[in-house]
Amino acid sequence: MNLIKFEDFSFKYDQAQDFVLKDIKLNIESGKFILLCGITGSGKTSLVRAMNGLIPQFYHGEIKGDVFVKGKNTKNVPTSTLSRDVGLVFQNPENQLIAMNVEREIAFGPENIGIPWDEMDSRIKECIKITDIEHLRKKAPFEISGGEQQRVAIASILALQPEIIIFDEPTSLLDPKSAIQILNLLKKILLEKKISTIIVIEHRLDIVLPLADEVILIDKGRIIEHGEAHYVINGEKFLNSGVNIPKCVSVFQKLMNQNIFTGKLPISIEETKNLINSIK
């Protein structure tokens, strides 16, 4: 099923001269772990802002085309309603943290949409467990470290149990082991069908690629590639896009250029090991 659908969507911010999103045609299906990548300023954040109605409702500008979230046109349905379907976590959470303490911060969203107390309690417990922040429960959200704030922001969106979860680099400050742990737990709840789809923007591609079912590559406001992860990673467009190519990919790309290796480039260390084993 199509969860999000862009129909020839273009957008230009009021302040800007050029369109930041151009003729976007995109279907986001359920059951997918999607990596969204592109260089700085390519339009990643703008694209996800258009997925929960922030564009055009909060960020004004010139629009062509439409975006639908589960059939609802994002022009007409308030972001507060859309946010039940789409949970968006931003890169710099301290800009959005508001409550007295971490526990209240996480409860804030579910409380506002009238989740009963006993259910809320179990939701909070689960989110705190996923993000490993039990020890921060009573701390003020603005008196914790950057990575801890990102964990809280992730937990407070998860507590809303939206069907679609979008991460706009909220894992950038997480230590590598925690980033992998949290993304793995998300993949797990995706496979358990507790969420429908997850879209992740994160510049450490080596961390996300092993989990990705699909990759979307955006360049100068256009989607230039979208498909199964291996397919995209093996394409010229990805390899020349200027994103951070993981080392295992670029080592084999070099070997390919030297005519030493032919075949699919490995997207994870596991695949790289298998590849080397297969040659033995």
């Binding site: 260089i39 700085t40 790289t272």
Partner: protein, 291 residues
């Protein structure tokens, strides 16, 4: 530069720091950093990395213990002198940027440095050029993309030309070109003899660009040594909530296969070369192409 007493630039002794709410963020830090070094600080979220570097420019005052920057004890030196010597680029650019335009951000940063009007204009121009911010000159920082904001935050510190440069997570939100830019900036400043301290979770960046790494856990320094050593020992990785960079993992795998791998095979070019000859060998490829 050599690790000699006269080159000692940052000296931290038995440093503890307690936040007003009672959190003990630093529990007894001892540390020497020498002039001209490039030093990484890594460790789990909440380990105390940002707290530690904030004591270097007087932003946070030690609860107990001392921090010396060159010959000055941070408690006994004017904040303005300290901030001129130690430039910190903070983790979140949103908390650092405040001016109405990109140009003003740089202009404000250069204030109090006694530039004449033409010198000032020239400096602003050069900075905007160097950091590829010219085209955003009149934009408000608020509307820049994440990576662009980070570049502006770096520019606004670097234009003051501090002796000690501290980056808190410089590579977040940066694409390959942005990472390359930071890498070159670090090289350039290193060549000028500056001391560079980089707090980072970016293991791939660290292994390529940072020779010495300090690992923090729970308010203490738990390891201090060559980055490739820190990032390859399982016990240390566990304490630091770290993982090995891809090519260190791969080189361990190759060692497990009983292959004779050179010690520095975790460097990309070396790995390409090693696997290149290995594959040729296995598949009977002769020079210059497929069998």
């Amino acid at each position: 530069m050599e690790k000699k007493l006269e080159n000692l630039q940052i000296l931290v002794n038995h440093l503890t720091y307690h936040y007003p709410d009672g959190t003990i963020a630093l529990k007894g830090i001892n540390l020497n950093i020498y002039s001209g070094e490039i030093v990484g600080i890594m460790g789990k979220n909440g380990a105390g990395k940002s707290t530690l570097i904030k004591t270097f420019n007087g932003l946070l005052k030690p609860t107990t213990g001392t921090v010396y920057i060159e010959n000055d004890e941070v408690n006994n030196v004017l904040m303005s002198k300290l901030t001129r010597k130690v430039g910190i680029v903070f983790q979140n650019p949103d908390l650092q940027l405040f001016a109405n335009t990109v140009e003003d951000e740089i202009k404000f940063s250069l204030k109090n440095l006694n530039f004449s009007k033409t010198e000032l204009e020239n400096q602003i121009y050069l900075t905007l050029e160097k950091f590829k911010l010219k085209k955003f000159q009149n934009r408000t920082p608020f509307t820049l993309s994440g990576g662009e904001k980070k570049r502006l935050a770096i520019a606004s510190i670097m234009c003051r030309n501090p002796e000690i440069i501290v980056f808190d997570e410089p590579t977040i939100g940066q694409d390959a070109e942005g990472v390359e830019f930071i890498k070159n900036l670090i090289k350039e400043k290193h060549a000028e003899g500056k001391t560079i301290i980089i707090v980072t979770h970016d293991i791939e960046f660290a292994i390529d660009n940072i020779p010495r790494t300090i690992l923090m856990a729970d308010g203490l320094i738990v390891a201090d040594g060559p980055t490739n050593k820190i990032l390859s020992q399982d016990q240390i990785l566990n304490i630091g909530s770290l993982i090995s960079p891809q090519l260190i993992k791969l080189s361990k795998f190759l060692i497990d296969l009983k292959l004779k791998v050179p010690e520095d095979v975790y460097i990309k070019e070396n790995m390409v070369q090693f696997l290149g000859s290995y594959f040729k060998d296995k598949m009977g490829i002769t020079e210059g192409g497929k069998p």
